[in-house]
């Protein structure tokens, strides 16, 4: 009976749509999948875990969540590679929910629009359909995966060329120097010019 301290697991998403089997995801597995996905992405090889059609559908959904505007969206950021990686790694098992839910969605697509796949619809129709399933597990899980695909470390397969981080103004550096932002900027200049504060070099008696 040994706790595997290296085991990674899914703790909290706020989506409530998480499959228990994600807990079984092993970190080395996720890492390996991440490496494979990165290699696949770079060599334009097919996906490791996703079929071509479902990948197009998942990518189309991701692209409605974070659309391409005058800046890159989920498509350019490579979210689909994150999804491919996660399904084979730390979110392993989630495909058991995603695949049948996508089949249901595509059944509605066929019924309403006569098309076989969600990704074949135009943006307006896609948004209308997604609006209807917004609260459900398929959409909420894909929203979570899209955001991970945009903003997680690139080693998870997405966030290609750190485009996701660039989008929101996040920069992953280990060292920062003040001023950090607009509102503290003046303060550091003022302090640099002022004589060193005496406050913390003397005993203080401020009790009341």
């Amino acid at each position: 009976m040994q706790t595997d301290q290296s085991r990674r697991r899914f703790l909290h998403t706020g989506t409530g749509a998480v499959s228990a089997s994600w807990l079984a995801a092993q970190w080395p597995l996720a890492l390996k999948a991440a490496e494979q996905a990165a290699a696949a992405r770079d060599s334009q090889r097919p996906f490791q875990h996703l079929g071509t059609a479902e990948a197009k559908d998942f990518e189309a959904i991701a692209a409605r969540i974070v659309p391409t505007t005058d800046t890159p969206g989920a498509r350019e950021i490579g979210v689909i590679y994150y999804i491919d990686t996660a399904i084979g790694g730390w979110m392993e098992g989630v495909e058991q929910m995603l695949r049948p839910a996508l089949a249901d969605l595509n059944a509605t697509v066929t019924e309403r629009y006569g098309a076989q796949h969600f990704h074949l619809l135009d943006g307006e129709a896609q948004d209308a359909l997604l609006g209807e399933i917004e609260a459900g597990p398929l959409f909420q899980t894909l929203r979570f995966m899209t955001l991970c695909g945009c903003f997680a470390l690139p080693s998870y397969g997405g966030n290609r060329n750190r485009l996701g981080w660039a989008l929101i103004g996040f920069d992953h550096r280990h060292v920062w120097f003040p001023p950090f932002g607009h509102y503290d900027a003046g303060h550091h200049e003022a302090r640099a010019a002022a004589p060193a504060p005496r406050q913390h070099s003397e005993p203080q008696r401020h009790g009341r």
């Binding site: 989506t15 929203r143 979570f144 932002g181 009790g207």
Partner: protein, 556 residues
């Protein structure tokens, strides 16, 4: 540096310290420096600075610094008459949240480090009884604890500068304040406009090199993450290396203590644990120090039943596990016109302590401190998940525009508040659910006192006023709701002079077991105003001094 010893389990060491967190790290260092042989049993792993990452998925979503909730489930209920249940998956953090590993929760904490004020120790005398609570004075005063607060400042490593309401201090801070962040500047501006007295946030993070450790490099992955620089003053960085350097302290990790066993004279003789291979071991010892935190220390005592201690070790008072206090809190969020870039540097740089004390005019007991910080919105994924103001789109082009604009332009203001001690709020053993080792799971029973919630709402009103005065573009409140858990685990082995109403005496010795000491957040009599750890550690330094004297005098 002396090598780490390996003590045989069947020969008694001077002290076994159970848990290596905020308190246990201090105990290990103090007792080994004093010349005693010490074994530290820690259930988590020994991570070093270079093991820590900026991996939001691993640390935040998979909770890799805490125990696996699938193996160590906890249950929750609001009231004793209800059935406790495991919170649904996806609901968030475990009810009793802590990090497991060398350094305990001091590894991933924020490091907001306020001293208590003199009033915290004697509020019951000043304010009188509060019905339905076990509100009481501490068996010690601020003046008695002051030298040990100063030791925390200097030996753990706290940056700061005095504020207008601070209690007296005998020595200045060892290192100056950390550089101001935009959230701190905004808090300062808003508070000053209201005539309040914003002050520097004391932080257990080094602004300058100190005690052979480097200064913070403002990486920003601070709350919830381990520090790759050893600049955060966890006991992992500040205490454990010094304990090991004595050559008298063995840190045994992956070792989960199962129970304490006493001899026929009622003295603890063996600390029984599962080693890293899951094999049961028993470390013989002359004395035991329980520093496993306010959830696990109580659980261990309750698990250590015997004919002499039918309701759990040292629990003749029935107080073990009772009086749990989480510190009520409020969170208020705001967006501003210009970038703040709160993803850089530490969490807090300014606080407001104008509302610290109970004001009878408010009509309820309680007070608190306000701080400004990014909270969890410095992490990109979590910001995208939940950082957009309520009522705005959560997907699509407009949502994306909001992400682009407000990741850099948001901040939060927290109200950190009191909790009243009540017997009905507790840690107990779940009667049905077991953990992976077959131990009854931690069961948390908790419902805030109405005054705690009133205090939190009051602090939120002040936070809103400050943010408005500072010119927030948009602001919104997280509704103050009854707590369903927390990272401050206080009160469950309270200290006191009366063996019928407390678990340990004023020097942390169990009333009923002469060679058992409990030293951690569980000893708190009142909750303070939300940042307990500076006081946990001041108490630990003081406890170690008295234990050293007692041991040398043959009184343990």
């Amino acid at each position: 540096m002396a090598g780490s010893p390996t003590y045989p389990t069947r020969e008694a060491v001077d002290f076994v310290v159970i848990g290596s967190g905020a308190a246990g790290g201090v105990m290990a260092r103090e007792l080994s420096v004093a010349g005693f042989n010490v074994v530290v049993l820690e259930q988590g792993p020994y991570r070093r600075a270079h093991d820590f990452t900026h991996d939001e998925i691993g640390v935040v979503f998979q909770g890799e610094l805490s125990l696996d909730p699938a193996e160590h489930p906890q249950t929750f209920r609001a009231r004793p008459e209800q059935n406790a249940e495991v919170p649904p998956q996806g609901a968030g953090l475990p009810p009793a949240w802590y990090a497991a590993g060398v350094g305990g929760s001091s590894v991933h904490f924020t490091g907001n480090y306020w001293r208590f004020r003199p009033v915290d120790f004697k509020e019951r005398s000043l304010l009188g009884e509060i019905e339905g609570t076990t509100f009481a004075d501490w068996p010690l005063t601020y003046e008695e604890l002051e030298p040990y607060y100063t030791r925390v400042d200097w030996e753990i490593g706290v940056s700061g500068a005095p504020g207008p309401f601070d209690p007296p201090r005998s020595r200045p801070y060892p290192v100056p304040p950390l550089p101001l962040k935009s959230s701190g500047a905004i808090l300062e501006r808003g508070a000053k406009a209201l005539g309040l007295h914003p002050q520097v946030a004391p932080m257990a993070i080094l602004s300058k090199p100190h005690n052979g450790r480097p200064a913070c490099i403002h990486c920003g992955f601070c709350l919830g993450f381990g520090c790759e620089m050893n600049a955060k003053s966890s006991t992992l960085a500040a205490m454990i290396p010094q304990a090991e350097a004595t050559g008298r302290c063995e840190i045994r990790t992956g070792c989960t203590v199962m129970r304490l066993e006493h001899d026929e004279r009622g003295r603890i003789r063996d600390v029984v644990y599962l080693d890293e291979n899951g094999v049961e071991q028993a470390q013989r010892t002359r004395a035991a120090v329980l520093s496993a935190n306010g959830a696990e220390s109580a659980r261990l005592l309750l698990l250590s039943q015997s004919a002499q201690h039918p309701d759990g070790m040292a629990n003749g008072s029935g107080m073990v596990g009772k009086n749990l206090m989480f510190n009520a809190h409020s969170a208020t969020h705001a967006w501003f016109e210009e970038p703040l870039n709160e993803f850089k540097s530490v969490q807090c740089t300014r606080i407001v302590h104008d509302f610290y004390e109970t004001d009878p005019k408010r009509g309820f007991y309680g007070g608190g401190g306000i701080d400004a910080r990014p909270l969890v919105n410095s992490w990109p994924i979590l910001f995208a998940m939940g950082g957009i103001a309520p009522g705005l789109p959560t997907w699509g082009a407009e949502y994306k525009r909001l992400l682009e604009r407000y990741f850099t332009r948001n901040m939060s203001v927290l109200g950190n508040c009191t909790s009243l001690a009540m017997e009905r709020n507790s840690i107990s053993l779940d009667p049905e659910l077991k953990d992976v080792f077959g131990r009854p799971a931690v069961r948390v029973t908790y419902e805030d006192h109405p005054d705690d919630l009133a205090t939190a709402r009051f602090m939120q009103d002040q936070s809103v006023a400050i943010l408005e005065a500072a010119g927030a573009q948009r602001l919104w409140r997280d509704e103050v709701r009854p707590s369903t858990g927390g990272p401050h685990l206080l009160g469950t082995c309270r200290m006191g002079d009366d063996p019928d109403r407390s678990v340990v005496d004023r020097y942390h010795r169990a009333h009923e077991v002469n060679n058992l000491f409990v030293v951690d957040g569980s000893n708190f009599v009142t909750s303070g105003r939300g940042q307990p750890t500076m006081t946990i550690q001041a108490l630990a330094f003081r406890a170690a001094e008295h234990m050293t004297k007692a041991a040398r005098a043959g009184e343990i």
